[in-house]
């Protein structure tokens, strides 16, 4: 096959469907772009809200925006910027970049990328619609209970927030799992962890932080929505709940989230600086160490948002010190960047201008952050405009500036054209000056005692002039952002055509073409250095021809190279799905669930659940040897097996990472249980467990036997023995059904006082959690039995039952853990 013919065939397999078929696209380049464009639109909407607030606050005693609208504005501004702009746009950047940086053609779970995008889009639209109807959430973006609960926010505003954000979070979880597995398992052969571009380390840390950081918020949102809709009192004092539990769960997510936003932005900085300094980054290992430290520390500092709730002084001192310690890994990175510039030959251009702005603004924000971590100072300025100033310095400096630097840097990659230097400069300076004018003043108004979230203030408190300046600054900044946007839009038409690697960068994304081809690389070489394009410039051309590995397309499959985690040694070929409508349909089903819960039409919600489940299971059907996935062909490489013919593959890793997230959710529930037990003022626990002990042990016994036999079956299968596989999987599946039925009986029989006892409500949630795991495991096992019958699973295709094994192990683990902590512990302890 000639090279041209080969490239044509590659495009045939990898290109999106035309027209409406674009909606079925799963390609990471397309999905990444969609995330970024949608995120940018939400940024503009959030920005307009900020302008309305600054207009209202420009002068004292104004009534342009009434109090109830103002509260919707600040709640939605925070919510949009955090959940609909910052996280998704960075996820989009990561989704777009990661495969190109690691020398892969796509992410490992392309359909999951698509599902994530639709959940984000639909969730975002649902949340925005509340503003359109004038019933937007209005208790602040961190939704403190009891202000956000049914008694004090009777309208549907809080429900929009809780349901919409949880829906959107599916996209974050999807990206977290998918990016982790892609980075760990689909790097080009030879790319060991230490040869990985530094960008990937940051994204790996971010992805894992999403995996552990988002579940507490998802749980909290579910609990609060249950409280609002079904009256289960998790946060209500009188029935044994505690509003402070919400704060713990929220900030348990909320603080890691700040670093989930900062790390990818720092990744951009660490990528751009060495390229424009024309030398490798100095201190690669120091930076990796800092990334890991940041990720760890960030999970131990959430209480610094809660210094004014009156927690014990020793705990305050601990969290205060931990919060300050984050300064160390950040400072290490700053000095590594500084050294790279100092010992390089920096050239100054548009991306670097934003990098410079980043440093100034971010360092200011970092310093005020250390100040805020000091408890006595925090007591004074907490909940004032000082905090507003700090968080905008950190988030705009630490996220928006690097993002714009990155957009300018990769603009030639997105479009094949260069930006305009003149317009871009104006955009930068107006943004920089405006931004500092706006937010520097807020430090001062905060110190002068202006609380945050006041919709107006009286004259003569010393706040007037500063607020006016803030507002003027805000409009200057808007002008700057407008120019940047104009520059980017105009460049698509008027920009100079870009060369292939316009900045002479070292990383592989520039070998995908400007703009990139749908399959990124026609062939994938062995990677022998951390700077492939510097050390072997010929790759820029040769990777777009069929000169390296994986240059076979006659089978018509989309394929990636599967490699080992540490060494990057080639293990198998990952076959990945082509475009699919199932993600869109599943997301529509979930959207139906979300909307019907909002309008409280519960039968419709059940219909939505069933639809979504059918679509998702149907989607899972197209796997392995299924004709639409990877049936055997005569072009299969006899030396490197397809992953579905082995015992290891991306799905198994995806399963394990998903279970880590699931485990974080379960731990959050355990935390809630123990917290309410030990701390809630009115907690009461019955002396006898409401659950039937004989039924509980029957369920446990069945589950234990099931899991032991499942493990034995897998051992036989791995040894190449599939005799009786269909029958055994069928029996195990049925056993799972019986076990689930026992659990359901147990739940319906228990005399639970769901609306008047926090204890009973938590037990109920725990039971539902167990039922969900056992039920889904049973269905999937039965489906496996059917797949054995159809020949998609067996001796030659042993992979899928192996993927399912960790699910059962986990289900067994949480079952006995729940029996121990929710039933046995209270009995031993006495109440």
């Amino acid at each position: 096959m000639t090279n041209a013919e080969f490239q044509r065939r590659m495009a045939q397999v990898w290109d999106n469907l035309p027209g409406w078929g674009q909606l079925a696209a799963v390609n990471h380049t397309s999905i990444g772009r969609r995330f970024m464009v949608t995120g940018a639109i939400f940024f503009l909407i959030g920005g307009v809200m900020a302008m309305l607030m600054r207009t209202q606050l420009a002068l004292p005693n104004q009534d342009i925006v009434p109090a109830d609208v103002y509260s919707q504005l600040f709640t939605m501004h925070g919510t949009i910027m955090m959940f609909l702009f910052a996280i998704p746009i960075l996820e989009g950047l990561a989704i777009y970049m990661i495969p190109k940086l690691i020398g892969a053609r796509d992410l490992v779970f392309p359909r999951i990328s698509s599902l994530g995008y639709y959940c984000y889009l639909f969730g975002g639209i649902i949340i925005m619609s509340s503003l359109f109807f004038g019933i937007a959430p209005d208790s602040g973006w961190f939704m403190y209970t009891p202000l956000s609960s049914a008694e004090f926010s009777p309208g549907p505003g809080s429900d929009f927030w809780l349901l919409g954000i949880t829906f959107v979070e599916i996209s974050a979880m999807a990206a977290g799992v998918e990016l982790t597995v892609s980075i760990l398992r689909s790097r080009a052969p030879g790319m060991t962890l230490s040869k990985m571009p530094i960008f990937c380390w940051y994204i790996l840390a971010m992805a894992l932080m999403i995996v552990f950081g988002f579940p507490p918020l998802i749980l909290a949102s579910i609990l609060l929505e249950l409280e609002r809709a079904a009256g289960m009192p998790f946060f209500e004092v009188a029935s044994g709940g505690d509003p402070i539990l919400w704060q713990h769960l929220f900030w348990l997510f909320g603080h890691p989230e700040v670093y989930i936003i900062f790390l990818p932005a720092a990744a951009v900085i660490s990528t751009i600086i060495p390229v424009f300094s024309k030398r490798p980054i100095i201190g690669y290992k120091w930076i990796v160490l800092s990334i890991i430290l940041t990720a760890f520390i960030s999970f131990g500092i959430w209480v610094h948002h809660m210094f004014t709730i009156g927690i014990p002084p020793l705990a305050q001192a601990f969290f205060s010190i931990a919060s300050m310690l984050v300064a160390i890994p950040t400072a290490i990175q700053i000095f590594a960047w500084l050294a790279t510039l100092w010992m390089g030959r920096p050239s100054f251009n548009l991306p670097m201008l934003w990098v410079f702005g980043f440093l100034i603004v971010f360092v200011c924000g970092g310093l005020t952050g250390v100040m805020l971590a000091l408890v006595p100072f925090n007591w004074q300025v907490h909940d004032t405009h000082f905090v507003v100033a700090h968080l905008h310095y950190v988030l705009i400096g630490g996220m928006v500036y690097p993002l714009i630097a990155g957009i300018y840097y990769w603009l030639p990659h997105f479009s094949g054209r260069m930006p305009s230097l003149r317009l871009g400069r104006w955009g930068f300076w107006l943004t920089f000056i405006g931004m500092n004018a706006t937010f520097f003043m807020m430090h001062l108004t905060g110190l002068l005692g202006m609380p945050r979230r006041v919709f107006t203030y009286e004259a003569g408190l010393g706040w007037d002039g500063l607020n006016l300046l803030s507002s003027v600054g805000g409009f200057i900044m808007t002008l700057g952002i407008g120019l940047v946007l104009l520059d980017i839009i105009l460049h698509f038409k008027f920009g100079k055509k870009a060369e292939k690697n316009p900045w002479q960068a070292d990383t592989l994304e520039w070998a995908t073409g400007t703009p990139p081809v749908s399959y990124n690389f026609a062939s994938i070489p062995n990677i022998e250095s951390r700077h492939p394009l510097w050390d072997n410039p010929s790759l820029l051309e040769s990777m777009s021809k069929n000169e390296h590995g994986l240059a076979e397309i006659r089978h018509g499959r989309r394929e990636l190279l599967g490699t080992e985690v540490m060494s990057g040694k080639l293990t198998s070929i990952f076959h990945i799905p082509t475009h699919s409508w199932w993600p869109l349909f599943s997301a529509l089903g979930l959207a139906l669930v979300c909307v019907s819960l909002l309008v409280r039409v519960y039968p419709l919600a059940i219909v939505g659940c069933v639809l979504a489940a059918i679509f998702l299971l149907r989607w899972s059907w197209e796997n392995g040897a299924h004709p639409s996935m990877a049936p055997p062909t005569k072009y299969d490489d006899p030396k490197i097996p397809l992953h579905s013919r082995t015992h290891d593959g991306p799905g198994l890793w995806g399963m394990v990472i998903t279970l880590l997230a699931d485990g974080a959710l379960y731990l959050s529930l355990l935390f809630g249980w123990l917290y309410l037990w030990l701390v809630a003022p009115e907690w009461s626990m019955p002396s006898v467990s409401p659950l039937s002990i004989p039924l509980l042990f029957t369920a446990g016994l069945l589950l234990t036997i099931l899991v032991v036999f499942y493990h034995m079956q897998i051992r036989y299968l791995k040894a190449g023995n599939d005799r009786g596989l269909e029958r055994n999987l069928g029996l195990l599946g049925l056993m799972g059904v019986v076990h689930t039925a026992v659990l359901i009986t147990l739940t319906t029989m228990a005399p639970l006082e769901l609306q008047s006892s926090a204890h009973d409500a938590v037990i109920f949630v725990m039971l539902i959690y167990l039922i969900f795991h056992s039920g889904l495991g049973s269905v999937l096992t039965l489906m496996q039995a059917l797949r054995v019958r159809l020949g998609y699973v067996g001796k030659t295709y042993p992979y899928e039952p192996i993927v399912l094994r960790p699910w059962w192990t986990y289900t067994l683990g949480i079952f006995w853990c729940s029996v121990a902590t929710f039933v046995a512990l209270p009995m031993l302890w006495g109440s």
Binding site: Y144, A238, P243, R279, I321, G449, A680
Partner: protein, 243 residues
């Protein structure tokens, strides 16, 4: 040069505004009138000057690094140089700064806590949407959005809430503390001067949050005793109102 000028200009501009408007104001934390607020003010100015020096040095260094030609430094040599930078700048500097901060911060914070004190006056404050109910135990006096305290005396405010979370804050006297339904938190404040201070709710608590303010009048200790006995509610009435 433009980069450098603008950051310097920003700092100068900020400083001049601070001078022009001054640090005073009825809610200003920088115009302290009590021991807690006083300590925080000291902490603030210490941290401010320290941060100013660190950031200006860093900005100038960074700007210079961006505009100089570092030549072709070998990776090994560069790595060695960086190790030094990291140990001194990346690890040493923050560790030093944090230690310094904690040396002052922890004892200061400790001194602000409501330690047992026989002279301390107890006042109960219950937050509502959107007013403060202030009661004086033993005397049965009840005020709304108004507090009378003796000067130079530690006051323990026992805070709780009837509805949502509020936060009790008198910036010129000291830090804030949340009033949370279901529990009681205790805030120690003291006024050093006879004056009328202003306080407000700091935690967003609903649509009238911006107006949830109160006055705190510090009077001489004799006047306070007098005020108490003038306004005390007879015992029998207290019992009735307690029911």
């Amino acid at each position: 040069m433009r980069l450098y000028d603008s950051s310097l200009a920003k700092i100068l501009c900020a400083a001049s505004i601070l001078l022009l408007t001054g640090c005073s104001g009825p809610f200003s934390t920088l115009d302290p009138a009590g021991p807690s607020a006083h300590m925080v003010k000291l902490l603030w100015w210490g941290m401010f000057w320290f941060s100013l020096v660190v950031s200006v040095v860093l900005f100038v260094w960074w700007w210079h690094a961006m505009h100089r030609d570092g030549g072709d430094v070998e990776q090994d040599k560069a790595q060695k140089a960086l190790n030094k930078w990291v140990w001194y700048g990346g690890i040493g500097l923050p560790t030093f700064a944090i230690t310094l901060l904690l040396i002052f911060g922890i004892p200061y914070g400790h001194r602000m806590l409501p330690h047992a004190d026989p002279n301390a006056v107890r006042i109960e404050v219950t937050a509502h949407q959107w007013f403060w109910r202030v009661t004086y135990p033993d005397t049965g006096i009840e005020l709304i959005d108004d507090i009378v305290i003796p000067v130079d005396t530690p006051i323990d405010f026992h805070l709780s809430s009837e509805d949502v979370i509020h936060s009790f804050w008198v910036p010129r006297l000291g830090g804030k503390l949340d009033a949370i339904p279901g529990r009681t938190t205790v805030l120690r404040l003291q006024a050093d001067e006879i004056d009328t201070y202003r306080g407000q709710c700091a935690e967003y608590c609903g649509s009238a949050h911006a107006f949830m303010q109160f006055e705190l009048r510090a009077v001489s200790q004799d006047d306070f005793e007098q005020w108490l006995s003038d306004n005390a509610v007879p015992a029998s009435t207290t019992e009735v109102s307690d029911d």
